[in-house]
Symmetry: C2
Subunit: 429 residues, 2 copies
């Protein structure tokens, strides 16, 4: 009797989780490896950062999803090396052999070599990022509440967002929602001094959606009091300011970096072919060019749809996860893998303050309806019944009462490593 083929999946994001689940009944032995024991629901990170929901709600333990299957194992580890030729991965000094490999390691923040960005700007790509940004925002407000110097106070309350994609737009709108909820908690602080602005290097916002939706988004943000600077690049970030390529600068304690992502490729023996942003070039079947038993999916893969590169959203990774599971099943039965075809069911983006935009087939939507649809879709896709219920209740509470209740400064990330305690002047006068 043959021993069953071994499939190793690296990365427990949308794509890797879906691939592992789809392979559960394939007869293969599956090992899923991730550095975290949880799957992070990235679309809701901005709500963690703006005190709307608890971080644990969007961090679903990987083992909860795997437990249905006896053929699946999980390993919490950092992958040190992948050897495509010898067909093994190295983790913690041990090698693990595979028959099939699915690379689903996703993407990471890319600071585009902007000086000071990696040190002083706040990314929003991991759960740790979201908690650190939450701590930073709340610490700035708390400091401002005891700061007598109006210049320093305004600096503490100035938030500049670099990047006009979905993340930049979401966090901008959510900061305005947060600002509106804070008045009752800070009766002695003038929250009109709180300023949010957004800079985007390209000519429009939400470049992956039709242009009129980007224009609507920019108008909406402006109406919310968020100046939008298009065709403006950040050239430097310091602890107290951000500088732009037009020579201007803004005194801001907090810069949110939502301007760049790059594929997070593990170390490999044989250099695979790369496309742009460090992404792996893949065949239409999502196999690597030279290794027929290695697949790359999600943000790691440079795949196409209707001749255009896919844009790195969750549905693409989910569909790819299912597709590679089917292709590996075909290979196990001696059939050849089939090309992946992306089915675009539409695209939504949330702005905040009860507005969103969307494109579903030929229909373009703006305002309240796509806002509600965005929330509905995301609560449905969120893994875990308990998390889904708690997020739904949090939204009902938060939007009905205009409250942002998760305002605990818990981690020391935002405070000790990036200290910003000014002296207290006249705190009681």
């Amino acid at each position: 009797m043959h021993s069953p083929p071994k499939v190793v999946v690296i990365g427990a994001g949308f794509g890797g989780m879906q691939a592992a689940q789809s392979l559960a009944s394939s007869g293969a032995e599956i090992l899923l490896i991730d550095r975290n024991t949880h799957n992070t629901f990235i679309p809701l990170l901005y709500q963690v950062a703006t005190a709307q929901i608890e971080p644990e709600f969007i961090a679903y333990p990987v083992r909860n999803i795997l437990r249905q299957s006896q053929t699946m194992r999980f390993l919490r580890a950092e992958v040190e090396h992948v050897d495509f030729v010898r067909q093994h991965v190295r983790v913690n000094g041990t090698t693990i052999a595979y028959d099939y490999l699915i690379l689903a390691t996703g993407s990471q923040t890319h600071y585009l070599s902007v000086p000071g960005a990696a040190e002083h700007a706040f990314a929003l790509r991991t759960l740790e990022d979201a908690v650190a940004l939450r701590d930073r925002i709340l610490t700035c407000v708390e400091q401002a509440a005891r700061e007598a110097d109006p210049v320093r106070r305004r600096q503490l309350l100035t938030f500049v967002i670099a990047g006009g994609g979905p993340t930049g737009v979401e966090i901008a709108g959510a900061l305005v929602e947060l600002k509106r909820s804070l008045g009752r908690h800070y009766p002695h602080l003038d929250l009109n001094e709180m300023h949010v602005s957004l800079a985007q290097s390209g000519t429009r916002l939400l470049a992956n959606l039709p242009e009129p939706l980007g224009r609507y988004t920019a108008r909406k943000l402006e109406r919310l009091g968020i100046p939008v600077r298009l065709q403006t690049r950040v050239t430097r970030v310091t602890p107290t300011a951000v500088e732009f390529d037009d020579g201007s600068s803004v005194a801001a304690a907090t810069v949110v970096w939502a301007a760049g992502l790059e594929a997070a490729l593990p170390d490999t023996t044989v250099e695979p072919y790369k496309a742009r942003n460090n992404k792996l070039a893949v065949q239409p079947t999502l196999q690597l060019q030279r290794f027929a038993n290695v697949y790359a999916i999600g943000d790691l893969a440079h795949a196409h749809h209707n001749g255009k590169p896919l844009s790195g959203v969750a549905p693409e990774a989910l569909q790819q996860g299912g597709a590679v599971a089917r292709n590996i099943g075909r290979q196990m039965r001696g059939q050849s893998p089939q090309p992946f075809r992306y089915v675009n069911k539409g695209r939504l983006a949330i702005i905040g303050c009860y507005a969103g935009v969307g494109q579903i087939g030929p229909i373009r939507l703006t305002g309240f309806l796509p806002w509600l649809m965005w929330l509905s879709v995301h609560v449905v896709y969120l893994p875990g019944f308990r998390s889904r219920l708690f997020v739904l209740l949090s939204w009902i509470h938060g939007y009905a009462l205009h409250d942002r209740p998760v305002r605990q400064i818990l981690s020391s990330t935002g405070v000790t490593t990036r200290q910003l305690l000014p002296p207290i002047h006249n705190v009681l006068d």
Copy 2:
């Protein structure tokens, strides 16, 4: 016209919060100072540590409670110094004058000079402690799941609790509940290898309750598979073991330190009179012996009830908070403060696995009823409607499905600073 008297309250625990709230309509200007922006609901820390509820549920933002009052301010700061003679407190290089001062800084873990305890044992007194302990417990289980060496695996799965007070008993029972929930998530791990034991230096558990309840608790823990060692002191904690005064030792990756607390007194100019455990000696009115405008309450104060020292539970601090607010009100009106009298409404302790103990008036309770009463009382006293709802739903979900869902390893506290990554052997064989 006189300016209103200024009351400074240091510490936003049970006592300090209650004092500030009770003073809200007194006509005084109140400043509440705490190093955290949230009030920590200490009785439920053990549930955070054992993956039952989210840390944010029991960390209520101080400003949520203060917002009803215009005469109240909050300052997030570490108090550096208190000058009883000049009547001011120093924070971040600034002095803040007071007319009345309420010291409510509570208690902190006391390691009793046991070698290695402060470095290697895990305390359970702050929210950071609880998250660090949760990370440690879950990391140990995750490591054990990939450890082929049975000796090392058993060590990873051995948890020793030092201290037989309420905290030690709670965490022991909750670890058994957690163990029972883990089987479905770790099908390849034999959880019979997980061992929890408890050591107590005194002759009985729960020394503040009648002796039969302590005996019941010990029997119950033994029936849950938790050996209880009485009259046994921990003499040393190492990264891999714990040693006792009878010469024995246990190989354990995790030691929970629930064996000692001491008053957390801020630095003061004039040394106040101290009683045992660093607590401040107070008059029956809760005023300091030499400073009639300074009060000490909660775990910081050495107060008496029926000739016996109070035991440091939340109802004592809450009642004292109300009492000092009334006494300051009397002093403001030229009247003399009145002695504090503690009204003991009863006492409950939770063991876990549907058992608890309690004493209400002359009635002693054991088993399911005090367990349910403990949970009911604590969900009622938990601040914040949203938190109360989410904790209640978490309990319904957790106890009904025997699930401990908050199993995310999020902080790096338990992992990087106290590294325990063994090599992986035979992970797939």
